[in-house]
């Protein structure tokens, strides 16, 4: 029999990444405080996938849970990376937008309600193409509404990462929490290789991918706020911290002057060294925050 203390700490830590989308959202809330909305028993699914011979899912890959975090009202919206790559369709998009808008109404009415978006997604679901793209535009609009009243916190734990249009949703949020196993960018490596060639981006070069899109780099250069270990406790306490902190003084996507200057001074004549850029943009404090 193995003694409990013989189990290495990394096994005992309770991995967050190993949880599915629903379990991830549940893990964030105060015990017994939460309830899932428009869940699988309501059977609201994509009307477009069956028309194309693709099996739909009763939650359309989007889990919405409302409850309390550190005693404060909050809603978590979690994309299930294992269903259609976490892609945004008409229904999953509408669920996100509705939850964000309802949080805005409550916040305006005096009950600030934070939103936590757990994003594992490649962006638009191509089988629903234009309705997916339209939904992402609405998600961005609704995040921008809510963040005036309550924090909108993005968690990218891994391992799908956050790409495509949903990277803009992350961009307009109040805070971004990432693990080392998480990635964030507009275009994934395969898409760039496909569109611009292997010389531009070798999608099989794992070191290159992580040096550009990885959580350590994104937090290091100030494009995300907190780098945490892959554990339920680690991610849970980062979320609690930002729920309690409220909204930031300035949002990153409002810092247009700062980033415009940064882009103006980049040497674009050859590829940019990620580490050198991280040094150059390094944050003003130890946590990697520019604001």
């Amino acid at each position: 029999m193995i003694e409990a203390n013989a189990i290495p700490a990394f096994v005992n830590r309770g991995s967050f990444i190993e949880l599915n989308g629903r379990e991830r959202a549940q893990a964030l809330f105060d015990r017994g405080s939460w309830r899932e909305l428009v869940g699988p028993f309501d059977g609201v699914e994509s009307p477009w996938l069956p028309m194309q011979g693709v099996a739909p899912q009763f939650d359309d890959g989007c889990i919405v849970i409302k409850g309390k975090i550190s005693g404060k009202p909050a809603v978590a919206i979690s994309l299930e990376g294992a269903f259609q790559g976490g892609s945004i369709g008409e229904v999953s998009g509408a669920k996100m937008v509705a939850a964000l808008d309802l949080a805005t109404i409550d916040s305006r009415d005096g009950s600030p309600t934070a939103a936590i978006l757990l994003l594992e997604t490649g962006g638009v679901r191509l089988q629903e193409a234009n309705l997916g793209l339209a939904a992402i535009a609405e998600v961005i609009a609704s995040i921008l509404e809510l963040r005036q009243y309550a924090p909108v916190i993005i968690v990218i734990a891994g391992t799908v990462g956050c790409f495509g249009g949903m990277a803009l949703a992350a961009g307009v949020s109040s805070y971004i929490v990432m693990t080392r196993e998480a990635r964030l960018g507009l275009n994934g490596p395969e898409v760039i290789e496909q569109e611009s060639g292997k010389d531009e981006f070798d999608a099989s070069d794992r070191a290159l991918i992580w040096s550009i899109h990885g959580g350590e780099q994104r937090v290091g250069m100030g494009l995300a706020d907190d780098l945490v270990e892959d554990s339920v406790d680690g991610i849970g306490s980062a979320v609690q911290h930002f729920v309690t902190a409220g909204k930031p003084a300035q949002h990153r996507s409002e810092q247009v002057g700062l980033y415009r200057r940064r882009i103006a001074t980049l040497d674009a004549s050859s590829q940019i060294d990620p580490l050198a850029l991280r040094e150059q943009w390094k944050s003003l404090n130890s946590k990697g925050r520019t604001r």
């Binding site: 509408a94 307009v172 980033y259």
Partner: protein
């Protein structure tokens, strides 16, 4: 030999963004970027009806600093420049009553976002987000934000430049395409042939590349037929101006959100599942 090839390439990339530039020039009388801005972003304050509005357009820039953003894609410089110019108008009109905040008119002919390594390294997602944020913030502050799609409006390019508008107008023309991804890439990723994709588009409106099918989704304010979409004549320009002015009036009357895209008659039909999901969410929300 080399020179003629370069000329050919330049001529080709000119054609891609030609519509945007032609309409920008027709509506504003100007065709050059402002001092300090990249040549790919045209912005101007110009009269429409009896009010002054801000017009913005992204065009190809063969001599641009970023190789993957030279053919009319929206890249780092484009995102932050659009954001900067929109925010400039937002700040200038900050203390004006809503009825006097200037209209912001995005003329759209964008290929896509820039697919480059430099862009990813420097965080293109934030540049795109900053521009989206600026347009949406202007809309929420009471500026009528009108998008006028005169050519292509693709994926991240459209999210960055135009999709946050109160009202979207599009030319009724075969050269106008609004979509999440260009045909070849969408076919590759969904493992279909381009022909299959086109056939599916006829049955499934959100997948279609035809602007008439896009109109069925209820996201458009108006489709506008003109005689010469590539090189607008005077009557085309007059017609477009009248439509833009009407859209400005309509936007000022409505709420500053995107609700109109769900409430339109076409959306009630084509977005039934999403609308039902929203209604159910509203119903269950209060019970927690």
């Amino acid at each position: 030999m080399e020179e003629s090839q370069l000329e050919r390439e330049n001529a080709m990339s000119e054609r891609i963004g030609l519509r945007g530039k032609a309409w920008f020039q027709a509506l504003t009388g100007q065709n050059e970027a402002r001092k300090g801005d990249p040549a790919s972003v045209l912005t101007a304050d110009a009269m429409i009806g009896d009010e002054r509005a801000l017009f913005l357009c992204v065009i190809p820039n063969p001599g641009g600093r970023f190789p993957c953003a030279r053919d009319g894609q929206v890249g780092l410089e484009e995102g932050y420049t659009l954001a900067h110019r929109v925010r400039e108008a937002l700040n200038a009109d900050k203390d004006k009553p809503k009825s006097q905040k200037r209209a912001i008119i995005a003329i759209i002919d964008v290929k896509s976002q820039a697919y480059g390594r430099r862009e990813e390294t420097a965080g293109l997602f934030l540049a795109a987000a900053a521009s989206s944020d600026a347009y949406a913030s202007a809309r929420m502050a009471g500026h009528p934000v009108i998008s006028f799609v005169v050519g292509h409006a693709f994926s991240g390019g459209f999210l960055t430049h135009g999709y946050q508008a109160n009202r979207i107008l599009a030319l009724d023309d075969a050269g106008v395409t609004i979509h999440a991804m260009h045909k070849e890439a969408a076919a590759r990723i969904t493992r279909r042939s381009v022909e299959d994709l086109e056939r599916l588009g006829q049955q499934i409106p959100p997948m279609s590349y035809n602007v008439h099918d896009y109109a069925k989704l209820g996201l458009l304010h108006q489709l506008l037929h003109v005689e010469s979409p590539l090189e607008p004549n005077q009557s085309d320009v007059d017609k477009a101006k009248r439509a833009i002015i009407a859209a400005i009036v309509d936007a000022r009357k409505g709420p500053p959100d995107l609700g109109v895209r769900r409430e339109s008659r076409a959306a009630q039909k084509s977005r039934k599942a999403g609308i039902a999901a929203r209604a159910l969410m509203e119903h269950q929300w209060k019970k927690v």
